[in-house]
Amino acid sequence: MKTEKPEIEHCIIKETEKPEIKLYMYSSVQEFPVGKGHSTFLNRISDSDVIAPIRGGGVDWNGKWGEWRNWFDVCGPFGPVLDKVVIRSEDFGGIIYDTINDRIYKVNVPGYKLFQEILEAHKKKELAEFHSKQFEHKDVELFISFLKGAGLWSM
């Protein structure tokens, strides 16, 4: 039996799964998951020559870090960050590498599609007027607000 094709002209196809983006690594050379590290592994062990180079020497590291330079401000001028991001697809969606700020993000499949749309708009210099062809406005807004917070929305 021949079925009639639905009329899809002028109809925007909306995805059911929402686009999501998360910070994956705070640096491409991040060695341990957040909250882990040599100090966590070594907390249970006593002082000895072999661990001396790793363990502390009476310095309050945590108290001191706050005095250090804020590296959000010290990575330019390189031009728009979106010019320098690298993306690749994965089974779970994709990976976005911000090469300027050295951070890596994970996106789900819709997030990957949306980010591709955003990159396309950026190339055409249409980011200020960006409207997704695939996703709901409120979901796009949420995604973009994350990008802005992460410094990934510079035009």
């Binding site: 994956y24 705070y26 062990i45 870090w65 804020n70």
Partner: protein, 326 residues
Amino acid sequence: MVNVDEYKAPIKSPFNVCLWISDLCNLSCKYCYAAPLSGKVMEYDRLCKLLDELNDLGVFSIVFAGGEPFMHPNIFDVIQRAVDIDIPVAVLSNGICLNEKTRNKVEKLVSGKKFTLQISLDSIDSTINDITRGKGNLVIENIRALSKLDITLQIACVLTKYNIDNAHLIIKELYPAIKRFHFMEVQRTKNSLQNPDLLLTRSQAYEFWMRLNEYSKKFPSDLCLPSLRTTLRACNEGSPEENHFHQQATFTSNSCSVGLTNIQIDANFNVLGCDIAKDFANMGNVQYNSFNDIWNSYQAYQIRNLPFPPCYKIKNAAGESLEDYL
């Protein structure tokens, strides 16, 4: 029956692959991570195919190291091949071989390409540099000549008890001709642990990073200190907003990032999950196997799921290892 999907890596390829293309060197640095060197070089035809494979898998960047990569007989062809596939490439060199002829040849190959040449130098004072490395005067001369060419340069400086007080002064001498400086503590390799006099205590390291951070404020914002940035993030520094953001990083692993994000391939095509613990992180061999097959193999799965970082197995001069204390 073995379910091969069970061993499939959580990401389709590493982010960065470092190829130790030459196991030859014209220096013998006291802390060398690659020592002892076998004298082999990576076979050129397989290397070329491997570059294509890694590019197809979406690897973000390729690094050529060694030994000294400029001692590979096909180094210029290797660089040409890599920059032509348009993947960001870095070469880590000791700077000895970079005479005028070599410099000009490299500039011709990489001008306008995504290429960084890293030269190692432990101090602008060659007498200090030569305690750990050697031939400091020649290297400094080559660096100054390279800085006038159209090649992006980065200086790598390994921190030891000998240079810790003045290592940061390298920046003053070479900036703005060079804008990237990569400082790193001695990696706790089998070789460096035999020279405990080199190693810094945590307090010494802390004081250095503190001094470097203060010193960097004297320079414009185009000065790039990637290792300082990562160190600060690892220690949760900065504004509350930035700290909170970095605390959200979802990366997980059994112990450390071994076998996941940064991979080494030695001159024999062994795929190593870690550059420090190379004897304990072999994921397989890509001489006759594809990288993808090794990446998703049971052996690679085992390395990624070690109960503790493989470097904890490395023994010091007294025969102790961190594993003994776990």
